[in-house]
């Protein structure tokens, strides 16, 4: 018998547990020219706001050891243009489309969600309360429990679509924030968004990024992401979508073992356009080799091997 890579998350049936991470896949078109997108688990499109946003001044990218900083700043054409011009294309791909929603106020998040609620072809919303690259809103909602509760509750009231809350790693107790989000009505949690960082060019003696700070992603953040997925999947009962530095099937399996029910691939796609498919293939090969028949058998398996079972391996807090 062959391994079955399909998963169902918040009622969304996916051929495999691998999604394109928001902001690294545009609205899919560019990659649609490179490979067959219908083989992906799901596509999470880039952060979309009510009004068009111009984004941050260049330079917006800086490579760092085993990763990169970005300060794109949620550049997007606004929700109406998205629905009119991009959604029809995405709808035709035969892949669940998850829209990453961002805003500066709870009302803006709610309004964007309301417009998407009526738009055919949207499988779920990913509420981005973790963008480190905008001055107002963004990460502020993902680091303050009261604000988080308000945003998720108002989005919850404005749509019946499944809600995924995308959490920021720039907090001290991510498990607590995950509980706040699920108590407010979130059906799943995705993490991590990028870690706030910066780079300085010693030749010019200036910060490299036009926006000074940016978000760190790629293999450099993987250990942090994995630990946070472990913590969150121990703190909440809803499915967790893990991401941060995945470049191979083995990386993805680590996230599944840590408690993620699905994964997303971001930065790796910038290097290898079909990185998602490579990750899918790697997961399948791993399952085949280990005789694992369903993805569910892997989810959280590493935690079951740790005695405490409470999500925090014995002694990890006693440095």
């Amino acid at each position: 018998m062959e391994p079955d890579t399909s998963v169902t998350i918040c009622g969304i049936r996916m051929k495999n547990p691998v999604m394109a991470a928001s902001g690294t896949f545009g609205y899919g078109r560019e990659y649609g020219e490179v490979f067959d997108l219908s083989k992906m688990g799901a596509i999470v499109v880039k952060g979309t706001t009510l009004k068009p946003r111009m984004g941050n001044p260049p330079p917006r990218l800086a490579e760092t050891p085993c990763g990169l900083l970005n300060s794109v700043g949620l550049e997007n054409p606004g929700i109406d243009v998205f629905i009119e011009r991009e959604l029809p294309y995405l709808r035709g791909l035969g892949v669940p489309v998850i829209v990453n929603v961002a805003g500066e106020t709870p009302e803006e998040y709610a309004e964007v969600s309301k417009r998407l609620d009526k738009a055919p072809g949207v499988a779920a919303l990913e509420v981005n309360v973790s963008c480190p690259n905008v001055k107002k809103g963004g990460m502020a909602f993902g680091t303050d429990p009261e604000a988080l509760k308000e945003v998720i509750s108002s989005v919850r009231r404005s749509t019946s679509l499944p809600l995924i809350t995308k959490l920021s790693p720039n907090v001290s107790d991510i498990g607590f924030l995950a509980r706040v989000a699920t108590n407010a009505g979130s059906d799943a949690i995705s993490l991590i968004n990028t870690l706030l960082g910066m780079a300085i060019d010693v030749n010019t003696m200036k910060p490299v990024l036009g926006a000074v700070f940016g978000g760190l992603s790629g293999p450099a953040v993987k250990p942090v992401a994995l630990r946070m997925v472990w913590e969150v999947s121990s703190a909440v009962r809803v499915p967790v979508i893990g991401m941060g530095g995945i470049t191979s099937g083995t990386d993805a399996v680590e996230f599944l073992l840590a408690g993620a029910s699905a994964v997303a691939v971001g930065s790796a796609t910038l290097v290898r356009p079909d990185a998602c498919l490579e990750v899918v293939r790697g997961i399948w090969e791993f399952m085949k080799e280990k005789g694992v028949m369903t993805v569910g058998e892997l989810v959280g398996a590493a935690k079951r091997k740790v005695d405490s079972g409470a999500g925090c391996p014995r002694g990890t807090r006693d440095f």
Partner: protein, 296 residues
């Protein structure tokens, strides 16, 4: 759309019809000047489609011969350096299925790339971007390159030689930084050189040389590549002279395909509004008057 090109045991694929993704095999490597490296790569689908001003997006570490001969879809890759690096298509021999890049060693990626040997396989996507095109109504093309900015102009000189008279202005800090003069001459272009220290040709910046040639009556379409301050001067001078000018811009790239919005240059639209343009997808060639130099 996803047709495989027939390279034995290779994984090269054609995207839509415009670009290909796969392995380029290093056929030749030379150092035209200290700190500069020219690589000739065999990758037919790229060479055949290449137009001047387009670029290839290259992972800067060779993947090794075994990767090229196996049918392994994704050869092992390092995590550091992480991203690909963009390089202009410097030359193309479409009948032999080969193209060249010329680069300056400036950092981590180019240092690694400089170490490649003949026979190595490089992971390449290309050709990407829009490329140079010449507006009708001018029979002369003026190519202007500062430093490594000459890289995309050699293929332009060759390709436009059939339809236009080509004049090339090559600038560098010293005589050592003046590259490709032989290539331009071999392409039949008239070549003028400027060095800032006066060690070769005109003493001064290439933009000073440009102004002096304009005052002698030089006219044509300007295609330029170089550092931003030079581009800004070229934009100003060509506007005053009433000549159309196009730039090949440089920026830090992520995906190189238009998806990540990491490569932004601010442009002014005809209605006066400003926005960020994706250099990799809508460029790298952009009309001079469109660039908002205050926003760079």
């Amino acid at each position: 759309m996803h047709a495989k090109t027939c390279r034995k045991g290779n994984i090269n694929r054609v995207m839509r019809d415009e670009a290909a993704i796969g392995l380029g095999i290093v056929k030749a490597r030379e150092e035209p000047a200290p700190g500069y490296v020219r690589l000739r790569l065999a990758f037919r689908a790229v060479a055949e489609r290449a137009r001047p001003g387009q670029f290839v997006h290259v992972y800067p570490v060779p993947l090794g011969l075994s990767a090229a001969s196996r049918d392994a879809p994704v050869p092992q890759r390092r995590l550091d350096p992480f991203l690909r690096r963009p390089f202009s298509i410097h030359d193309a021999d479409r009948s032999r299925g080969e193209f060249a890049i010329l680069f300056k060693i400036i950092g981590k990626g180019t240092r690694e790339l400089a170490e490649v040997r003949v026979g190595d396989a490089l992971d390449v996507i290309g050709p990407l971007g829009n490329g140079f095109s010449a507006p009708v109504g001018y029979d002369r093309i003026i190519l202007m390159g500062g430093g490594i900015g000459v890289a995309p102009l050699v293929l332009a000189a060759k390709d436009f030689a059939g339809s236009h008279r080509v004049v090339t202005l090559v600038g560098g800090r010293t005589a050592h930084d003046v590259l490709c003069v032989d290539d331009f001459e071999a392409a039949g272009a008239q070549v003028h050189v400027a060095t800032e220290d006066g060690s070769l040709g005109f003493a001064g910046q290439v933009t000073d040389l440009f102004e002096s040639l304009l005052s002698q009556g030089l006219r044509g379409v300007i295609l330029a590549c170089g550092p931003m301050p030079m581009m800004q001067k070229v934009a100003d001078i060509s506007q005053v002279a009433g000549l159309p000018a196009f730039f090949s811009l440089e920026d830090r790239f992520g995906c190189g395909l238009g998806a990540c919005l990491g490569c932004a240059v601010r442009v002014v639209e005809p209605d006066g509004s400003r926005r960020y343009m994706r250099v990799c997808k809508e460029g790298p060639v952009v009309e001079a008057q469109k660039v908002d130099f205050d926003g760079t």
